[in-house]
Amino acid sequence: MGTLSCLLAATASIAALTTGCALKPVQVTGKENNGSQSETAFTINRVGDVARLTVAYNDGTDHPAIQYTATTRVTKKGATHMGWSHSTDYGATWSYGGRITPTDNWPILWGDPGITHSERDQNFVYIANLGIPKAKLDAAPGGEISGAVNNYIGGGCIARSNDGGQSFALHQCVQTTEASSTGDFYDGGNMASDNQGNIYAAWVNVDRNAIHVWRAVGENSSFQKMANPFNDGSVMVSHPRLRVNLETNELIVMAMNVNGELLMARWNGSSWGATWHTGMWPQSYPCITSTGALCYSADPIVRTGPQFSFDIGSFGKSNDHIRIMFTRLSTLNGRLFIAGAGCNLDDQQCQYIPEWGTGEGDKDKVSASYNPLVRAYRSQEMANKGEPSLWMGSHTTYFPGTGRVRHAMGGLAILKDQNGDVLFVHLALFQLADQVLCADLRGYWGDYDDLQALGPIPGKSNVFARTFTDSSQGCNYRWQFTSSRVHVGFTGN
């Protein structure tokens, strides 16, 4: 049997063995008051013998400062979407943490959660959301916002926990006034930290088409804005994503420019390197119609941002590398599909690796895949043996025939055949199938799903888990600003 045949046979055998690897969903939220909870980001921190998962999300459960009338949504002082839940049994059960309280100067806390914990002192956990400053809310007719809040968002707010994620309080709100004297429009937050106590938060400044990264030098410090990471004049339009190489404490920022290319910026602790052009070009924030076809604004059954994910892993000491997953559009069938890429950190070369994705499909394909996620994991034991990182990818696929979606998780491998030729392999290992879709009329439903490596847990090792928006209780309502039922779900292998 030839090498490729061996590979295919082995893959088929494994696929057969793992067809039954259906993921078990766990309900994170849903017992609270009426309303929706969606857009998730989570982290796992370890303090002593306690490992705690903290998931942040848009908490839209009933709140007196957010009122839905017959025709619009009215948002008032005191409104907050900054909610969280936590678990100390690796996600088997969850406790609702509540919502973080706004302040007089920042009277409304909005969505787009980012989360991280300090790698140095894991008692400290941080959540970043969008914020509406008093100066902007005061300018609203009657001091309240009717409809969309885009014109009133004027920065980002960061909440902090010093007890490992059990409780949070607002730590600091940040803003720039480059385009608006009352605060530029920030969107799409993300966070990361390193082993030296540096905490990073980033947003896209929509008004300036720039990525703004803020850093706290130490868990108790205030966040200060860093220099522009993309210092070659790049016009940045997407949400940023942050990851830290924990072997070197180097921060890497990824975002998409107006040309459509994914760019990276590297912070070595004292300065930003030259902008790294990856040569990868995702689709930009498209939506999917009920037929699976692409749309940009009309009749979305679901919207699909963010359109990329990346992480930093290792082949071995000093040979770190990056893997990217991103969304593309097939010219053959007009459907979204997932592709991958791998990049050497030392020479900044990226290779296109479609094998890690879903494949484009044939001309008759009608399903659409979106929300790519990728994470690396490497234990001490693996490092001691010189073994490379394990990689897990995840994405969601919409099936027009059923109107439902499937969350899939699979390994991303680089193998060598007997001739020494490199083979790139995606192994579909786990799935959460037949999930009810329940986006609001904007298409919002789970575009902040998250994937993380939990590492070893009792009785298992190398566990990867993901959070998602859960509508398994049924979809009975879709409206411009909300839908029902929408809560937070968790699953893992």
Partner: protein
């Protein structure tokens, strides 16, 4: 090769034992020069993505003194060849720069704006899709 695949899958399926997530890898045996070369070669830029016409653009001009004012978030406007452009300057293959909104030549109509994220002309004032 099959053995490698098996190890990889078993590891992902959680059949191995492990300890804690690590950062510094002091105990790690150093890789040989050959290993390093092989690993680097695996991700060298031998296969480049060929983006489609709806994926890659060469946006040459945004803003400028005659760029029209559009009070919409995510709107792109430009001053292209000294003329207001409801979109951006797009560099063509021959090097010339024309007004466009990504795939829409001449930019957007007056009742719409060029959306930086969706890369399409979007009706004003509504942008129901990207509102928070």
């Amino acid at each position: 090769m099959n053995r490698l695949l098996g190890i990889f899958i078993l590891a992902l399926l959680g059949a191995c034992t492990s300890t804690n997530q690590v950062a510094a890898l002091d105990n790690e045996p150093p890789a040989t020069e050959r290993q390093i070369a092989e690993r680097k070669a695996a991700l060298s830029r031998t296969r480049q993505m060929q983006p489609g016409p709806a994926e890659r653009f060469d946006v040459a001009v945004i803003g400028g003194t005659c760029a029209p004012k559009v009070a919409a978030k995510f709107a792109l406007t430009a001053c292209v060849n000294d003329k207001p452009c409801n979109g951006h300057g797009l560099r063509l293959a021959d090097g010339s720069v024309v007004c466009a909104c990504f795939e829409v030549r001449d930019g957007c109509e007056v009742d719409s704006f060029c959306h930086a994220r969706s890369r399409t002309c979007t009706k004003r004032p509504d942008d129901k899709y990207h509102v928070q």
